[in-house]
């Protein structure tokens, strides 16, 4: 998968939830959205991005993905 595109998509999601005044709700919203709408290979690619290229993820997305691993797909 195109990691640049996935990073952009994740950051877009982050921009929506970041406006929420309740930070915990925003963080949970990001991971839940990715879990519910991203196909596992996209989430696997996101795992790699988080591990290898996290600097391009926005801080709130990084924080959300690191705080809660429920979005991660089952191991293949």
């Amino acid at each position: 998968m195109d990691t640049q595109h996935l990073t952009h998509m994740a950051n877009q999601i982050g921009s929506f939830f970041e406006a929420m005044p309740d930070r915990q709700e925003a963080l949970a919203g990001i991971t839940l959205h990715i879990k519910r709408f991203w196909e596992p290979r996209m989430r696997r690619a996101l795992q790699q991005i988080l591990q290898q290229d996290a600097a391009n993820l926005s801080p709130i997305v990084r924080e959300a993905l690191q705080a809660d691993d429920s979005w991660q797909p089952a191991a293949q």
Partner: protein, 952 residues
């Protein structure tokens, strides 16, 4: 459902009143609602009063003098069409005197009418002929030597109907239909006295006038003056069936009038609740594509897209497709294939495709064209209100006091609903339009928007938040409604957010380009003007913040208490005829039918038990994700039913690169569309005239599609999917689509009460339809929201990445026009090309002049994604800095220019905002030249198909 060809015409419209009046007509007691005409009351009592200028789709006019009656205690002979029934009246519709008067009137009519009844196209369907018979006219004493109109020239300019002034009786029905039903005011009566004749525009031919060819005038005409050319060609139909239009999301009911298997004409169904007897140029006339010579009726296969097609048997084609899908899954894994359901196919067909993918392919890689249009509606309304659908019936607009149209152009894209909306606006409802373009609704005959907020493309969210700011800060909230029906915390968060100074109209004017006082005025009107209804289209959804904007719309409606009763609501105007249905049927990769998430164990188990398989609990790939996965080598096969993703999806070169990377593409369609040119298997589809099923329109109305002719290629689409499923080892043995609907009803709570029997009985039914609402649900969220408490969300404006720069200084926005539909596969193969034969680029005079562009010049349109060349149309409908085009013709390459940018929540493409440069050019773009070569090659490979039949 077979129906009679000629409906009963009650002469004047039905009235609605709580007060009833009882009177006597021809000795019969009859009780009717107050306001009913004597003519209609008589018809209901069984006495059909002779008439010519009256018809029950139009308000009475009282000009023909045939419908005279006698009323005890009243002098003279009142016209029954314009005389309201009153309690205690004693009325006679027939007497010697009345007969004598009517015969005299008829004699005058016939004295100036060609007596060619035997060879007239309306023979058998002519009210003048009928009235001559009813009134007992036996001779015309005036002869034909006097002044007459018999030598008047016909106007044959319209491709679908002719106008013969010689046969006109000046009853005004066509003029009134154009005004009352369609709302275009294209027709008038030109001249006075004897010179009076129907005139399009200023004595112009129809095609040069403002006529939109909706056919309302033709329906209304009592003679052969305005006559369908198909009736002139084929003669009068002899039987008919009620079915549903296959074009836009209005979902008009039509009567297919037939001779054997030959469609003679399609006429709007009077009892169709979506359209109430009206139609547009597409549904009414543009059905000839169904038997177009370019229909492909034999299955074809090929190994590579550079190979010629080879016509094969259905068995071979299905076996080949199945073996390829199995091969790909064995080689690349279970998740390496997927499919796309069609919004142009029926609910039953869509349901079967997603079933095939989930249960047969074993994954959830299923998506639909709603991905590229209304997927943000699904997300936004689902999050806020709890369900992914419009809240109202179309009829609800009759109760609206304020109509807010956002990013929609109903008179072009949803024309029959546009006419209903215009009728309400002429009655005095207020209108707010939020759109970058000056669409027709902003200013057309007898319609003028109270506010046109001509915002810059891509700034919707800043606008909706500014409107909310005014409502919150000026104390216009519906506090009781909010307290009772909405989540308190989410409301407080939203209220505090929108109230911030940076969200005020004054602060956001720099973003939207709309003066603050206009925004304030529009917000006040929406919040305080009475019943306020929002109608929106793809100008809302097809943005990087499409879902945020849908949420913002729902926020606004909840904050003002405008959800849950007639006349209000949040109403997405769906694009294709069955977009609503395809979404309902589980076409999205994360949802099973009825919008239930695939991860929900209880729901999944329900389907697993019914289908006898284990389902994958993870969401599948969306269409853009499929393309990305194809390019990275993990998605290699696609079953695409009735969609043309190459032409309709953004960034064409990205799409074609992805398709080229796949090893097996199976296209099921009625024509060799652009996607099929990249396919390895072609399975011939069936048009809506060739199959049974149901469509669900934008108001959640499920209507029957009825087969009026056998499938040209032997199978309806649901049968083809069933063949493929069985070849893949997923047993399907449906013998009729009604059985598929029964399965849907068993598995989907909101469809639990739906059956063909019920639809036949009620005419149509709106979901939810179940034990709680056995006859369906016209208005949603009446006592509370589907999700429980309505939920507000903060809607922070985030500027699109498509920024204008010195290199790309203009914003391109795309859309559609009245005469063409979507990728044009259907309408381009009809005479609708007479109105729109190519896509053009609309550009403001200032931008054109700055670039030395004149009307009609070739212009290159270049974006970061690609370049194409179109003819320029210099138009003041555009605002400076914004250009516009349509995507109805493949060679136009509108989507060569659009980019991969998409909605944050759903990946719905940002069609509405592309930064471009426009400059004069002298030749087609490089892409267009490549396309021309590719297209010619593919058409040659198709031509070789028949000659390759049976070859190994």
């Amino acid at each position: 459902m077979n129906t009679q060809i000629h409906d009963t015409d009650f002469g004047t419209p039905a009235r609605v009143s709580e007060r009833m009046v009882t009177l006597e007509i021809d000795g019969q007691q009859v009780t009717v609602p107050e306001g009913t005409s004597l003519m209609r009351a008589a018809a209901e009592a069984g006495s059909m009063v002779p008439k010519l200028c009256a018809t029950d789709s139009l308000e009475p006019f009282g000009s023909c003098r045939l419908c005279l009656v006698e009323i005890d205690g009243r002098r003279g002979f009142p016209a029954s069409c314009t005389t309201p029934a009153e309690a205690g009246m004693v009325v006679r519709t027939q007497s010697d005197k009345l007969q004598s008067l009517r015969k005299g009137v008829m004699e005058l009519y016939i004295s100036d009418h060609p007596l060619d009844c035997l060879t007239c196209a309306a023979n058998g369907d002519c009210e003048l002929q009928d009235m001559a018979g009813v009134t007992g006219l036996r001779e015309v004493r005036y002869g034909l030597a006097g002044a007459n109109h018999l030598d008047s020239q016909k106007d044959e300019s319209n491709p679908y109907f002719s106008y013969d002034p010689a046969k006109c009786i000046v009853c005004n029905r066509c003029v009134r239909a154009c005004e009352e039903t369609q709302g275009t005011f294209a027709l008038t009566i030109s001249g006075r006295g004897f010179e009076s004749r129907v005139s399009p525009g200023q004595d112009q031919p129809f095609m040069e006038s403002e006529c939109v060819s909706c056919g309302a005038c033709v329906d209304a005409c009592p003679t052969a003056t305005l006559q369908e050319k198909s009736v002139i060609q084929f003669g009068q139909p002899e039987h008919s069936k009620i079915t549903t239009c296959a074009y836009c999301g209005v979902g008009c009911g039509f009567k297919a009038e037939m001779k054997g298997n030959q469609v003679v004409r399609m006429t709007p169904w009077k009892d169709g609740k979506a359209n109430e007897g009206h139609a547009c140029v597409k549904g009414r006339f543009a059905w000839g594509y169904a038997t177009h010579p370019e229909r492909i009726t034999k299955p074809m296969i090929r190994s590579k897209i550079t190979d010629p097609w080879r016509e094969v048997s259905w068995e071979e084609a299905i076996a080949y497709a199945a073996s390829e899908f199995k091969r790909l899954q064995a080689k690349y894994g279970k998740d390496s294939i997927g499919g796309i359901t069609s919004s142009r196919c029926t609910n039953e067909e869509t349901y079967l495709v997603q079933k095939l993918i989930r249960a047969g392919f074993g994954n959830n890689n299923v998506d639909t064209c709603a991905r590229v249009c209304h997927s943000p509606t699904g997300y936004g309304l689902g999050q806020t209100l709890g369900t992914s659908a419009g809240t109202q019936t179309f009829k609800s607009v009759e109760h609206s006091d304020v109509i807010l149209v956002i990013g929609a152009n109903p008179t072009d894209a949803h024309p029959v609903f546009g006419s209903r909306m215009k009728k309400r606006l002429r009655e005095g409802a207020k209108l707010i339009v939020i759109d970058p373009r000056k669409i027709d609704l902003v200013g057309s005959p007898h319609i003028k928007a109270d506010y046109h907020l001509a915002l810059k493309p891509g700034t919707n969210v800043a606008m909706i938040t500014a409107l909310a700011h005014v409502i919150v800060t000026e104390g216009l909230l519906a506090n009781d409604y909010i307290a009772e029906r909405c989540e308190e915390k989410s409301f407080h968060d939203w209220r505090d957010f929108v109230a911030k100074p940076e969200n005020s109209p004054e602060a956001t004017a720099a973003i939207t380009g709309v003066p603050a006082e206009l925004v304030r005025g529009a917000a006040r009107l929406y919040a305080t003007g009475g019943n306020a209804a929002i109608y929106y289209g793809l100008g809302v959804t097809e943005h990087s913040q499409g879902s945020t904007m849908v949420i913002g719309i729902a926020n606004l409606a909840m904050a003002t208490g405008n959800v849950g009763r007639e006349g209000v609501g949040v109403n997405p105007l769906r694009g294709q005829n069955n977009v609503q249905g395809s979404c309902d049927m589980g076409s999205f990769p994360h949802e099973l039918p009825g919008y239930r998430h695939i991860s929900d164990t209880t729901t999944r188990q329900l389907f697993e038990q019914a289908w006898g398989v284990t389902l994958d609990p993870e969401p599948g790939l969306r269409i853009p994700n499929m393309f990305d996965a194809a390019l990275s080598g993990s998605f290699m096969g696609l079953y695409c039913e009735g969609e043309d993703i190459v032409q309709s999806d953004p960034n064409t070169q990205h799409v074609t690169a992805a398709l080229s990377a796949m090893e097996c593409i199976v296209v099921q369609d009625i024509f060799l569309n652009e996607t099929a040119k990249y396919a390895h298997v072609f399975l011939p589809g069936a048009s809506f005239l060739e199959k049974d099923g149901t469509f669900t329109n934008a108001e959640r109305r499920i209507s029957r599609v009825r087969q009026v002719m056998k499938p040209l290629a032997k199978y309806a689409d649901w049968e083809v999917t069933q063949l493929l499923a069985n070849a893949l080892g997923l047993k399907m043995d449906y013998s009729h689509p009604s059985q598929i609907m029964d399965e849907i009803a068993r598995l989907t709570p909101s469809f639990a009460g739906v059956s063909y029997q019920k639809i036949d009985k009620l005419g149509s039914v709106q979901w939810p339809c179940n034990d709680a609402a056995p006859d369906g649900t016209p208005t949603m969220h009446i006592d509370g929201f589907v999700r429980g408490k309505g939920k507000f969300f903060v809607t922070q404006y985030v500027a699109t990445d498509e920024k204008i720069t010195r290199r790309f200084p203009l914003i391109l926005t795309t859309g559609r026009i009245l005469s063409q539909y979507n990728v044009g596969a259907q309408t381009r193969r009809t005479d609708n090309v007479a109105w729109h034969a190519e896509d053009v680029l609309e550009i403001h005079p200032h931008d054109a002049e700055e670039r030395g562009i004149k009307d009609g010049d070739w212009v290159g349109v270049q974006s970061r994604a690609g370049e194409t060349v179109l003819h320029a149309k210099v138009s003041e409908r555009m605002q400076p800095g914004v250009v516009y085009t349509t995507f109805h013709f493949p060679e136009s390459g509108a989507n060569v220019i659009t980019t991969d940018n998409s909605d944050w929540a759903t990946n719905c493409p940002e069609y509405k905002v592309t930064a471009v440069q426009v400059l004069p050019v002298t030749q087609p773009s490089e892409w267009q030249q490549d396309y021309q070569r590719f297209n010619e090659t593919q058409l040659e490979l198709l031509e070789q198909a028949a000659s390759n039949e049976g070859k190994a």
